[in-house]
Symmetry: C2
Subunit: 203 residues, 2 copies
């Protein structure tokens, strides 16, 4: 299954180039597993679906730990028709996504509870789009059920869901939402915004 | 039909607060038509579907004209199930979106040719998601046909399409892609990134 993301990192700082170049070193451990291409708008990462969110987490936490107000924005996709199927995208473990919805909700919750903490508080909001299937709202409502009990659920907003907490469980929750819901071989996309150190964040 | 967007503006500058507060005045002419709500991650605008892209254009151009490297990121949505139908979202003119695909492609092209220029060069990339219909890829391929002849088409990228040119025709092209494709009353979302003044932009 072709899987990857177009990601962008926005440090609200005159030193945005230095912060980006420093943070991007956090992707080094993932480079053997990913194809990475950069232009002036975004960086493409293509690789195993379950490594996409850990890679984005490590990139974002490295930038946020400079103390600057930073945002990461990403369009994450799996199973996109028209993309070549790439052996680099083979999942490295079985996500058992053919299980009934209730079992997948339980498995997702356990994965988030086991996620490592990073010490970096973040806010996130995202929209999940299971495309080309008749029951896309069933999968979305199932996913919302999981999210509400994830421990990092903040509140629903128009067009998206807002999470908050440590970057570890927040990115684990995003990964579970992306990988466990929607048809196993279906076209699923996730539109993500993650923010840290905002001067207008509520305590 | 409920329509709106979650939008965020990212000036890569120590003066990001000043740039945002200055640019946001560009939304004043739209305020009578929109409901606007802001938190630390994004600003919600809800209103007539055909005014969403002009409002985003004016906000972004105001920020970009400071000369700072600026990005606008948005999740744009129409017809989302589960959102209350809002009288503020009634289209102000007939988009004739029940026409055959070829006629809609022609109408979209004419609308872009008639768009006012702003003097601000930008790069944009976006993904269009017609949700919950069996033929979502037909509508996407029809939209791609329009885009390739829009005059601002740059190139396809994985998971998205890249545009470049003056902010006027670029935002007009985005509006046409969003409004003319996908079922007229269907759930359509568009995930957008717009960039100006990037130091790594190719000339």
């Amino acid at each position: 299954m072709f899987s990857g993301a177009q990601i962008s990192l926005y440090p609200m700082s005159d030193d945005f180039i230095g912060i980006i170049l420093g943070a991007i070193k956090a992707l080094d451990p993932y480079r053997p597993h990913f194809r990475i291409e950069t232009d002036d708008v975004s960086t493409l990462i293509v690789g195993p679906p379950e490594q996409l969110f850990p890679a984005m987490r490590d990139l974002f936490v490295a930038a946020a730990q400079t103390g600057a107000h930073c945002v990461l924005s990403a369009t994450v996709s799996r199973g996109c028709p028209g993309e070549p199927d790439d052996p680099i995208c083979t999942p490295q473990n079985d996500m058992s996504s053919a299980l009934p919805l209730s079992d997948r909700i339980d498995a997702a919750r356990e994965a988030v509870a086991a996620a490592p903490w990073t010490g970096q508080a973040i806010a996130a909001q995202f929209s999940l789009y299971p495309l080309g299937v008749g029951h896309h709202m069933d999968e979305i409502y199932g996913c919302i059920d999981f999210l509400k009990n994830s421990g990092v659920f903040d509140r629903p907003k128009n067009f998206c869901t807002r999470l908050k907490g440590d970057a570890g469980p927040v990115f684990a929750t995003l990964a579970e939402a992306f990988l466990r819901f929607g048809a196993p071989e279906g076209h699923v996309t996730l539109d993500l915004t993650v923010s840290a150190n905002s001067p207008s964040a509520k305590v």
